[in-house]
Symmetry: C2
Subunit: 545 residues, 2 copies
Amino acid sequence: MKDIQVGILQSNPTIGDIQGNYEDIINALDKADKQNADILLTPELSLIGYPPMDILRRDTLYEVQDEKLDKIKKYTEEVDVAVVVGFCRRDSRGIYNSAVVFNNGNTLTSYDKVLLPTYDVFDGHRYFETGNDVCIFELNNQKIALTICEDAWYDVDVMDTKRHKFNPFSRIKEYDTDLILNLSASPYRINKNSERIDLFREHSINTSTPVVFCNQVGGNDELVFDGNSFMVNENEYIKQLSSFQEDMQVLDIGDNNENYQVNTSTQVQEMNSAICLGIEDYFEKTGFDKAIVGMSGGIDSTIATVLSVQALGADNVIGVSLPSDVTSQQSIDDAKIVAENLGIDFEIIDIAGMVNQVVTDFDDESDYSMEGLALENIQARIRGDILMSLSNTIGALVITPDNKSESAIGYCTLYGDTVGAIAPLGDCYKRHVYELAEYHNSIESVIPQKIISKEPTAELKEDQVDSDEMSEYETLDTVLNEYVENRKTPKEITIDSQTEVNNIISRIHGAEFKRNQSPLPIRVTKKDFGRGWRYPIAADYSFLK
Amino acid sequence: MKDIQVGILQSNPTIGDIQGNYEDIINALDKADKQNADILLTPELSLIGYPPMDILRRDTLYEVQDEKLDKIKKYTEEVDVAVVVGFCRRDSRGIYNSAVVFNNGNTLTSYDKVLLPTYDVFDGHRYFETGNDVCIFELNNQKIALTICEDAWYDVDVMDTKRHKFNPFSRIKEYDTDLILNLSASPYRINKNSERIDLFREHSINTSTPVVFCNQVGGNDELVFDGNSFMVNENEYIKQLSSFQEDMQVLDIGDNNENYQVNTSTQVQEMNSAICLGIEDYFEKTGFDKAIVGMSGGIDSTIATVLSVQALGADNVIGVSLPSDVTSQQSIDDAKIVAENLGIDFEIIDIAGMVNQVVTDFDDESDYSMEGLALENIQARIRGDILMSLSNTIGALVITPDNKSESAIGYCTLYGDTVGAIAPLGDCYKRHVYELAEYHNSIESVIPQKIISKEPTAELKEDQVDSDEMSEYETLDTVLNEYVENRKTPKEITIDSQTEVNNIISRIHGAEFKRNQSPLPIRVTKKDFGRGWRYPIAADYSFLK
């Protein structure tokens, strides 16, 4: 094993902020230089931020980017360290998801990503041309291979994907390299960190080469990048950078002293960190500080509040109880206790008079009378109005409390509880919400036990309980997990009642129109109801039986 | 020129309704047989409906589809006509967008689409593997080539696309064929029909072969397929099927008697037909009959009502005037006149008392006071609530009146005027709305001139006019057209003020969060704000200057 010092910049870019992302790279170059790094690695598309989506279709991007690329290249004259920058290369055929290596003011090599993910939330082939071959370059007499994210994921059972047709790591193996670098923007989902470690360790063993994985960190809309960059050398050595925060470290590839140092967190800790970072960055990157949460006293809005406070600080969160005629005093009290425990501003705005006026005027002035579903929904919608009025008044964003189980089957009021900028629990099943509650209570007892133990209710009419209007959450979550994430056919999903499976699936697709107008969830599973869930609204789903 | 009779089934499939789509094909086979057709052509993915989106990722689809395919194959034993069916072929490598030819109970040939559009609203590479080569088969001693939709669009300046790398029609030319067939699902946009005719005529001239283009018709969410199928034989002969409605005709490829028969409509007629079909099919395919439109007395909601009536019939549309304190009597009267002219049910539900109650209670019960933007928005949101209450009460869908110019810059109230199932004018610039008004008045005078001539206003505060709060529509529409559709850089857009260009672009991307939660528009231009507009919300767009 030859000796080489690799700097890893685990940065949190804002998409499109080329100036800011450029400064991050320059600052890291200085740091890497001081720590005697030979080469600094940055994430996939580090100069642009990932995923840039249709920003890639704007010509101005390339002018701004290329100017900064040139500056970085020049800057390597002044430091004694090479740098790998993720950028978008353009030629007469199209654009490429690329990486360039600068050293001493020169371009050492440039590489175009070969495997382009085009499934789920990823639209690789929408934008990019495919690279031709692997890239091997020399630095300080070391043979180094350059890869980008998906290049490492050939033959892995990535959901929703067609199979890739070329295995970059098999090809790299032929070159007998000293080091393999991977620039990534690999989003978090449950268990992703350990899957990545297993995968890259296997690559390292197969190629008999140390591999460095450099990941982006931070929240970008629905996606949260967990960082967790690392260097792995077969079975001998792993060293990992922080999870869910920016980091920059220089690792000695030849140093096998500390033999196993990876981030170990429980699943619920990881989910919690992912969601908090997702909230924090959504606010940071859209320029907002303050959040408003409608607190019903139920478990979902309670946890949404707890997470918002962790992400933004108690001073930046306002809890609002919006009781109607059918809201129990207990619900108001429960919400109040949570707000007090968290130390946040708390408002009680009684909507009974508003609802009453709306219903009365509607009944008096129209040919119709508001009852049943309309009467339930109007309460949720008046609440949405008040939360948005507060949002307009304070200049704050509303947090949507809905969880994935509700969103899946449309057990929510469009323009009511669905209002808001982002849905922190939008990819959490009901059971995840309980797990998060217990996790937070295990640290500090902020959530009254009765909130956790009481029966879930939308509380839009007297004596309403969720389970009267839908499957029990346990059953529902089982079916959702199998159908949504594992793409099982209805017949493959074995719960007691096939009719119940069919009903749930029918409700899932009957709610496409609601999700089409709901805020993005923060993704924590391998299939969320965000940009990677693409089903038609006006379609006949009855064949799914 | 040899003689062959080609049946063209211009069908309107519901996505996922394999049974219904199958029946359409069987019925057309009977008709084609009676008319002595040699072969019946159906649209792209005719058995599934287009675009199926992630339905393609459901295993059940293939069981149901393959069973029907088999039945169609068998059915060709009983008729004296071959049939080309669009279906999704699956093998161990993945799935293909394919067409199969059945004749006399046998499979004559099968073809996999080579060019896969992966840009704008199209996600070809997300789902499909690429076909290997062109397909030529023989029927009645005729050499026939089979192509699918995008296969014909190599080298055409399709927006947002990378270049294709293979030209199926050049390759087909080598075979000296007698006839080229193209199965399409080609959505409408302004001028698309004449572009298609020009393109296919060129293909016909280049290959010295008659070409038959068979298109799907009907609305599927945001996309409207215009039909307009045709046969073209170089410069000698064109015959076209209906536009914007189902059709089935048998054409004699050797018949050069009628030499030019294409659908000629004005641009505004086409737009009008497209939007009406989009509304009609959205309702039909989601199982609703009745529409509710909030009628402000302004031009947008007036035209939205007129189009809804044309699409669904006067008996199925309910107009609702929702005046607040700042609504002029003139606005109410104007809306009423339109409703009377159209012969629809009309309700006036005064929201002043509701708004007053909400504002008073909000001010009394919270630490804040509702004024400014919040006070404007609450009126729009209470209107949204009432429309949705009617929707829940009657079992009707709400029509969203917003136009593309407003939606582009976010000049709309989220959860207010944006509520609804679909936005018929969501891809129409303000000028298109005026064109539609004049078109309708030219047929029958339904829209009072003062609605057309009065200055546009959101009417959410006293003396408000749109042009105080945004660019003049003429300027705005020019910038939008150049930026959104033609992807011009800010500097390439030459209006008087570069600052105004930058402001508009900044407002466009500042409104991503609103559009993310707005109903789908019905597409009429080459770039609408639906599923093909993919920009991040939490991003820095200031580089675009």
